[in-house]
Symmetry: C2
Subunit: 339 residues, 2 copies
DNA sequence: GTGAAAGCGCTAACAG
DNA sequence: CTGTTAGCGCTTTCAC
């Protein structure tokens, strides 16, 4: 351990530069010299020192993933597992290292922020955000380091982001229910201070309007993207006698279905359901949920690719990428009953 | 952007050395000079360059978390969320950066391994392992970088690790069932090639032996730490008519309980249950599971602290830390029926 | 207390 | 094609 270019150069009887060229696969090295150097590298198990390389090249080949726990679903929502998976995968493929920053509270933020924004450590940052007024968002934008927001931010001028087309996805979901002939279509939404929630709600309304169906506030029940939340939201919704429900997440759909069954009703015969996410979760599988599939892993990978683009080709103009979704028909929507 | 020590020094009318001392909070700087320098640093928003600091100090203040997906529960098991949370938290507190390596397949491994083991990038590594014959384990040990295994490894000579006392935990679980007077106590285990599984199984057997109860192979049913797996394992176990079951994870317990109910039996009146983990999961909450609580977040934090100890004080002798668990009594064990 | 100077290990002109 | 040289930005002796 502790080998340097110098050591390899000496052993191979060449100069540092030549070894450097070989290490970096550059041309302009005679084949037999290259072979000789490679042999020494092999034999010694030499690896170039990352810090030195970073310093001289002004590139760390590291990107940061910042997850504020205002997005406090980190614990519970497998969304983050898949997002992280996608990001990690893309980092691997592009030979980037992934630095992971989980920011819980204000104190964390103060301690961690300098590391995040310190030059030299990170080539760029992916921020998983979407919460209204996230203070991290402004600080990161101000810190002037290449930045990609995973999820459309509230103030999007000049910032690059990637998002799923939640509005269209919601329209697709509700259209599916409308197409099956259901009249009173309810929604179980997330917290309204959340941009994803707002988009899906917009889509829900848009689909109803397109179909000339009435919008009833009472048919929208606010959940919190947890199973419990879905259960209670459904309990509040039940008196409105919805014939079908669009739940803004599969997890909430499961909770809502439980509430329906506890009330002595059947799914989909009495209340039909469509969810959102389609992450392969153990606890959901048996429900045969009709749902909207988000390409979460792809989403993570694209975020990395966008960030690398920013790093290599400059941050202007800001990049945008909106990803599509897919309707997955299973049994809770009652489509099979109609045939 | 692009400020260097030199710039600050010039603006403050001192030398680089002095600025460096101020930045690093060293003594031997006159108070008024310190103030002056700090003011310039404030005003300019200067941050020292991480790469340069790494290079000269030979310390990256970065640790790597390596998760092989042989441990392919990453997707589905919230255990990793909590472990990661604990690790991230401890990194924050100690001013370390966390680099995250998710290694899926052989190809990933080949691509990523050089980055993991390259000197300069990482001060040390936490490996989440426990799978029999994990090739990463040997490579990492050989790479001679400070290493902590999260979970007791199969070959433990000379390597530092942290683990939960799974044997005692399982004894505690089964003793609880025995104490409630149950006779035929079954187990739903994980895959046998897994060291955690083996330990819990050993504990299960030990408790029965201590109580002079017979060991029946047929009462141990192999699951895979998923809900489905628990369901099917229970279906196979049901003909043995167990009066109580120790499931090696809460998720499997939930699947098993479903199987019991689908068979027209009641929990805990016909079959009592105790699980393992006690991670706060949405989909489990309503079951009121009696279980063994693992301190997963603590576990992650301790792993980081152990690694930092290794980095700072040398890797010899190897460190060991075995953490205790807690019995959480709720309703599935039937304890309340006995009163 | 403070500054000058050396050097961490590497890359990238620039000569030859 | 290959070697020499000059830094990247910082920490750290060592003088003063």
């Amino acid at each position: 351990m502790g080998l340097t270019l110098e050591d390899i150069a000496r052993q191979a009887g060449v100069s540092r530069s030549t070894v450097s060229r070989v290490v970096n696969g550059q041309p302009n090295v005679k084949e037999n010299v290259r072979k000789r150097v490679q042999k020494v590298i092999q034999a010694t198990g030499y690896h170039p020192n990352a810090a030195a390389r970073m310093l001289v090249s002004q590139r760390s080949w590291t990107i940061g993933l910042v997850i504020p726990r205002t997005v406090n679903y980190f614990f519970r929502d497998p969304f983050f597992n898949y997002l992280t998976e996608g990001i990690a995968q893309a980092c691997n493929q592009n030979n980037y290292t992934l630095a992971f920053f989980l920011i819980g509270n204000k104190e964390d933020e103060e301690k961690t922020f300098p590391r995040v924004s310190r030059r030299g450590l990170l080539d760029g940052i992916i921020l998983q955000s979407g919460q209204l007024g996230d203070p991290l968002f402004d600080r990161l934008v101000a810190s002037n380091i290449p930045l990609v927001i995973a999820g459309r931010p509230f103030h999007a001028e000049g910032v690059s982001y990637i998002d799923v087309d939640n509005v269209s996805a919601a329209v697709m979901a509700v259209n599916h229910l409308i197409g099956l002939g259901y009249q009173r279509i309810g929604a179980i939404s997330g917290p309204f201070n959340n941009i994803v929630t707002q988009d899906r709600r917009d889509g829900y309304i848009k689909a109803l309007v397109n179909a000339n169906m009435p919008i009833e506030e009472a048919l929208i029940s606010e959940g919190d993207y947890t199973e419990q939340g879905g259960y209670h939201a459904m309990q509040r919704l039940l008196p409105q006698k919805p014939r079908a429900v669009f739940a803004f997440s599969d997890v909430m759909a499961v909770g809502a279905i439980r509430a329906v069954r506890d009330a002595g009703l059947r799914v989909p015969e009495d209340v039909a359901f469509i969810g959102f996410d389609d992450l392969p979760m153990d606890s959901i599988q048996s429900y045969q949920l009709t749902t909207i599939r988000q390409p979460v892993i792809q989403f993570g990978m694209k975020a990395v690719e966008m960030l690398i683009d920013l790093v290599q080709n400059g941050e202007k103009p800001a990049r945008r990428l909106i990803m599509g979704t897919e309707l997955i028909i299973r049994s809770t929507c009652g489509a099979s009953l109609k045939k």
